[in-house]
Symmetry: C3
Subunit: 159 residues, 3 copies
Amino acid sequence: MAIDVALQLELEDLYSRYASLLDDGPLREWPDLFAEQCLYLVIPRDNYDRGLPLAIIRCESRGMLVDRVRATQETIMHEPRYLRHQITNVRVVSAAAGRVDATAHFSVIEVLPDELPRILSVGRYVDVIHRRSDGALEFSEKRCVYDSVLVPNTIVYPL
Amino acid sequence: MAIDVALQLELEDLYSRYASLLDDGPLREWPDLFAEQCLYLVIPRDNYDRGLPLAIIRCESRGMLVDRVRATQETIMHEPRYLRHQITNVRVVSAAAGRVDATAHFSVIEVLPDELPRILSVGRYVDVIHRRSDGALEFSEKRCVYDSVLVPNTIVYPL
Amino acid sequence: MAIDVALQLELEDLYSRYASLLDDGPLREWPDLFAEQCLYLVIPRDNYDRGLPLAIIRCESRGMLVDRVRATQETIMHEPRYLRHQITNVRVVSAAAGRVDATAHFSVIEVLPDELPRILSVGRYVDVIHRRSDGALEFSEKRCVYDSVLVPNTIVYPL
């Protein structure tokens, strides 16, 4: 498959804005990267690979993502922390009729006050992206498939 | 040196497929990214930088890579584990007459059952890539130069 | 904002050379990536986000960067160590009249002799880049904003 240069760089830019909004904010703009009708899953790799549906976070619309952000900022009790995403190896799996299937590898490093940075999670994104009427790309489906078998009890912010 | 946009993105795509096949499979397709006559080395940085040839893995053909994958899946006793590669900062060092010399930085995070993710290895790839008659790129030489002085006793899968 | 393909790849190449010079050398060429009149800061995120100026490293010219490299290699007592940078998610924030404002995410893994690799630092670069008269890009301002609240006592080499 020949590489669509413009599409590849647009996708990478979408993932970079995703990482930037999660790590450096404003977090409330993060849901804007998704379609109104969307699917956002955080799912362990063992379940995903076996076709099991159980996910630890499941949101089925942009509105639910907005709620999730609000909960993170207002409701959930948690220590302050910083996250740092690195999203790499973005790859178009297929592209047709305004729909792009793409994958990427991610790592999330977590920094708690007075602690050294540690790996919170690594894995891959398995995503479906559509083009809006204004030309911008948005996620219509996003599966954050994390490799750890051990479920970290500290996933506060989105992956 | 002016950047060859198409070549740069083709290379990045090659590295992304490399990472994807190692981490998410199918692993048996990983040797297809190499030329039939190829060189694949996993070599500690101290040796590489001093010009010492000793490598901990040395394969001299695609057939040997196929054997290595079979050994990993069938022969070598090891705990199940997941790997996650992030291959970044892909850079063309020189390009001429169908041969590309390129480098990239890599990290490999390992996830063992019931353990938190940990860094298995970091380093750089020092590679030679050729173009096949069908236009696709393939590795004719790949040196996985890892930074750790301490040799991890857990390198089961290719770096 | 439409993506400027050539600029994006030139920027990524600049960051890749930056990473390569720091990790694999020659370190003495690293200051060449900066303008003669430049600003280089290593600053904790808490200070940067609150607009506080205090930085742990502050260099205000390429000459000071050259001095810093010399100190690292000749004056500062430190254990030998290897670093591995991964610079990802490079993003143009604005571009006009030969000035580019860009951000990127970075991680630095440190390898000490006989120890396993560990995370030294993660964070983001907040940079200003200009185009030289010969067409090459150079950093005129570079802020290495690191996420850790805990200041590592082992920052010997530049971030």
